[in-house]
């Protein structure tokens, strides 16, 4: 119960941060915190496989995509650049040292032995991978295949969206530049080259 209370407090603070923080990067990192606490919640709910997937797919892949786009588009509050905080660097060193000491102490000073292979196998049998596979390739096989089609459509859609946009916008730019005569000799070939590069 104590774990649940701490977990839900952290989770809700992260969620409120997503909704209220003004910097998109801060909001995204706040969502990462919420997603990691959700992974711990899945462990609490005996869904170990989903917890691992949550960390790898959500907190890993999807959030990296978000941060990539935020930084690509250079979104953010206009305003003075925040000064580097002087205490960040020593705090980072201290945090790293505490982590290492904690791990070493846990490994060498904990009297409990590691569980043997049979125990581990029993634990992992209950962790959901086999049952999820049974469901996924049994009653849900049609859904599984539809998700595959959806992912393929998503790939084609995302690539096609960005690709077509790149070709037409650079062609339009070339025409506009040629008509306005701002840099008539240089811009169109460079645009064409860039488009060809992107095409490959």
């Amino acid at each position: 119960m104590l774990v649940f209370i701490v977990l839900s407090v952290v989770m809700l603070i992260g969620a409120v941060g997503v909704v209220t923080l003004r910097q998109p990067v801060h909001a995204a990192l706040s969502l990462v915190g919420t997603l990691l606490t959700l992974a711990i919640a899945y462990v609490q709910l005996h869904a170990h496989f989903l917890a691992a997937i949550q960390v790898i797919v959500y907190a890993g892949a999807i959030m990296v995509l978000f941060l990539f786009v935020i930084m690509l588009l250079n979104l953010g509050e206009e305003g003075p650049v925040a000064p580097r905080l002087a205490w960040i660097r020593p705090a980072a060193w201290i945090a790293g040292a505490v982590t290492v000491v904690g791990i070493v102490v846990t490994v060498y000073a904990d009297p409990r032995a590691l569980p043997d292979a049979a125990t581990l196998a029993a634990v992992f049998t209950g962790s959901g991978v086999e049952q999820i596979a049974d469901q996924l390739f049994g009653p849900y096989v049609l859904t599984f295949q539809l998700v595959g089609v959806l992912l393929l459509t998503g790939i084609v859609g995302a690539v096609g969206l960005v690709q077509r946009k790149a070709v037409t916008s650079s062609a339009a730019q070339g025409r506009a530049v040629g008509a306005a005569g701002r840099t008539p000799s240089k811009a169109p070939p460079m645009d064409a080259g860039a488009t060809a590069e992107r095409g490959r």
């Binding site: 119960m1 104590l2 774990v3 649940f4 839900s8 989770m11 809700l12 969620a15 409120v16 997503v18 909704v19 998109p24 909001a27 995204a28 969502l31 919420t34 997603l35 959700l38 919640a41 899945y42 609490q44 709910l45 005996h46 869904a47 496989f49 989903l50 997937i53 949550q54 797919v57 959500y58 892949a61 999807i62 995509l65 978000f66 786009v69 935020i70 690509l72 588009l73 979104l75 959901g128 049952q131 999820i132 049974d134 469901q135 996924l136 849900y140 859904t143 599984f144 998700v147 959806l150 992912l151 459509t153 998503g154 790939i155 859609g157 995302a158 969206l161 960005v162 946009k165 916008s169």
Partner: protein, 109 residues
């Protein structure tokens, strides 16, 4: 500390997360922050599904793992949605240098 957490508590937490995400979708103006709030709502639904899966597992029925399987499928769909959505976002941003959703009412296919 005293037995497993009741399913109601997990579902209440999920409802709170979902409500916060909905508030974010309705109030944020930058499209990318709307996306982040949508992710929050998806995860709230996932949490409820996992909680119900555990509920049925303790009840000992055959459908116990369906909830977790659906969560797995939701994860895949969320990944596809994010890829396409962020692609649209980048394309829009190239056109007009803002991602304010209030000014996008004229976007058509």
């Amino acid at each position: 500390m005293g037995g497993p957490v009741p399913t109601e508590a997990w579902v209440a937490l999920s409802a709170a997360l979902f409500a916060i995400g909905a508030i974010g979708v309705l109030t944020r103006r930058s499209a990318i922050l709307v996306f982040l709030s949508v992710e929050l709502m998806l995860n709230a639904a996932n949490l409820a599904l996992v909680a119900f899966a555990r509920q049925w597992a303790t009840a000992g029925t055959q459908v116990a793992m369906s909830g977790q399987t659906v969560v797995f499928i939701v994860l895949a769909i969320a990944a596809a949605e994010v890829a396409v959505g962020l692609g649209i976002l980048v394309a829009i941003f190239r056109d007009r240098v803002s991602t304010d959703v209030d000014t996008l009412s004229e976007v058509r296919l």
